[in-house]
């Protein structure tokens, strides 16, 4: 079969694909910011040493990490309307789902990062009269963030790839944009191919950037 991309012009891109691309990026950014915030809180709970904080946090992380993301997306899409009593769009539902889901993964990265800071530093903080919160904020977290920055960014690239799974609830993301354009012009094959290339170019360049960053951080340390 001959592939033709003749129908493809800026008009097609801007009316079908751009909308999906913007949503995918939005979803990634929201879930990254929300997920890191929530993930940090969960990581701190797990490291607090208090049983009533550790157990729920561990339950949260282990549960979400053993369920396929598609099932989590379906669960939220089913449960949110039952809980709030009215349907919530697929897009908004996806944003909530990804924030909650990614928090579990980010929290594991944060936990490893926080544990990579030698415990003596916390003891030193206590010794000079700091509270737990001050120790975390001024000593541990700044170093931990730096140690785990490359891993957090890699997870975010995976998150960007995973946003394509909102396909399960029909949200209009980057992949959907290509699919709709493919259906409209009866050129699905070209559009799927182009979708793969687009994802590859974005994710590959981002992971190259992360690798550069990793090198720079390694030199500073």
């Amino acid at each position: 079969m001959n592939l033709t991309f003749a129908f493809l012009d800026w008009n097609v891109v801007s009316s079908f694909i751009l909308k999906g691309f913007i949503f995918s990026v939005q979803l990634t950014l929201f879930a990254m910011v929300g997920g890191i915030a929530l993930g940090t809180a969960i990581a701190l709970m797990r490291l607090s040493g208090k049983k009533w904080l550790v157990l729920p946090a561990a339950f949260y992380v282990n549960t979400l990490r053993s369920i396929p993301l598609v099932m989590v997306i379906l669960w939220f899409f089913l449960l949110i309307p039952l809980l709030i009593g009215r349907p919530l769009g697929a897009e908004l539902s996806a944003i909530i789902t990804f924030t909650v889901f990614e928090a579990a993964y980010y929290s594991e990265i944060m936990r490893a990062g926080i544990q990579s800071v030698p415990h003596g530093q916390v003891s030193a903080g206590y010794a000079v009269g700091m509270t737990y919160a001050q120790c975390m904020k001024l000593i541990v977290l700044p170093q931990a963030f730096r140690n785990m920055l490359p891993v957090l960014l890699t997870q975010t690239i995976i998150l960007f790839q995973d946003t394509s799974l909102v396909y399960a609830v029909g949200a209009y993301d980057l992949l959907k944009g290509f699919e709709v354009a493919g259906k409209n012009f009866n050129r699905p094959v070209e559009m799927y191919l182009l979708a793969a290339i687009t994802y590859f170019v974005i994710c590959f360049s981002l992971s190259m950037l992360v690798r550069q960053l990793q090198k720079r951080i390694a030199i500073i340390r």
Binding site: S66, I67, M71, L78, L79, D162, S164, C203, S207
Partner: protein
């Protein structure tokens, strides 16, 4: 709301109950996962090994493979094998959907396994490789008798989590209508409107499957342990 577990004994309209359908869907999930795991382990090990050889061309191939299959979302890769490849090479049009999914999931995971295998090989002291070569073993012999037996033991834990990931990732096969657990969940939810019960059961089965893989891997790890090294207790 109230529970209605009776839903599993309802007839689907095709002469079987939802329970029977769910069990066969579970079978499909396990079959897709197992076949993909075989593909992923074979290709992933090969690519991982290539990346550690002294031959530049091999390293390049291994790296290119890893980057290619790691940087495209799984769902898009499934569409590639399902829609794009058969329409470019007409001879592949008769290939069943199942095979397309197994190849997609297998190759996707192979990139991650290649990464683990490479790390495992590089974790060994360089001296072992040099010792093997100095003894007069050829490079393939060095890999076969010196490097790989140790490297594979090192990578068992990360490979375990990849095997558990493969079960989770097999859920993406719903997109090309393979009748596996997630596809069952979506269909049965729509037909019966008892989404919560059905999702709970399906989620439970995913838990059980992942846990089973975890136990099997722990058993294998114990069996192949080399006494005295790598965290063995003997």
């Amino acid at each position: 709301m109230s529970w209605d577990w009776q839903v599993f004994f309802q007839d689907t309209g095709g002469g079987q109950t939802y329970f029977r359908w769910m069990m066969s869907a579970w079978g499909w999930t396990l079959l897709v996962s197992a076949c993909s795991l075989v593909v992923a382990l074979t290709v992933g090990s090969l690519m991982g090994i290539l990346r550690t050889t002294p031959v530049k061309a091999f390293v390049w191939i291994g790296n290119a493979w890893t980057e290619l299959f790691r940087n495209v979302p799984l769902l898009v890769q499934i569409f590639l094998w399902y829609h794009v490849i058969p329409s470019i090479w007409k001879t592949l049009q008769g290939v069943p959907d199942f095979v397309a999914v197994v190849i997609a999931l297998g190759f996707f995971t192979s990139a991650r396994i290649a990464e683990q295998v490479k790390a495992g090989i590089q974790a060994l002291p360089k001296g072992q490789r040099y010792a093997g070569l100095a003894m007069g073993l050829t490079l393939p012999q060095t890999y076969r008798y010196v490097i790989l037996p140790m490297a594979f033991r090192i990578v068992i834990p990360p490979l375990t989590s990849e095997s558990m990931n493969i079960i989770k990732n097999s859920s993406v096969a719903f997109a090309v209508s393979i009748s596996e657990l997630t596809f069952f969940a979506m269909q049965a939810q729509e037909e019966t409107s008892r989404g919560v019960e059905i999702y709970l059961a399906v989620t439970g089965l995913y838990f059980v499957s992942a846990f089973a893989v975890n136990r099997v891997a722990a058993f294998i790890e114990k069996r192949v342990q080399v006494p005295g090294i790598l965290g063995s207790k003997r």
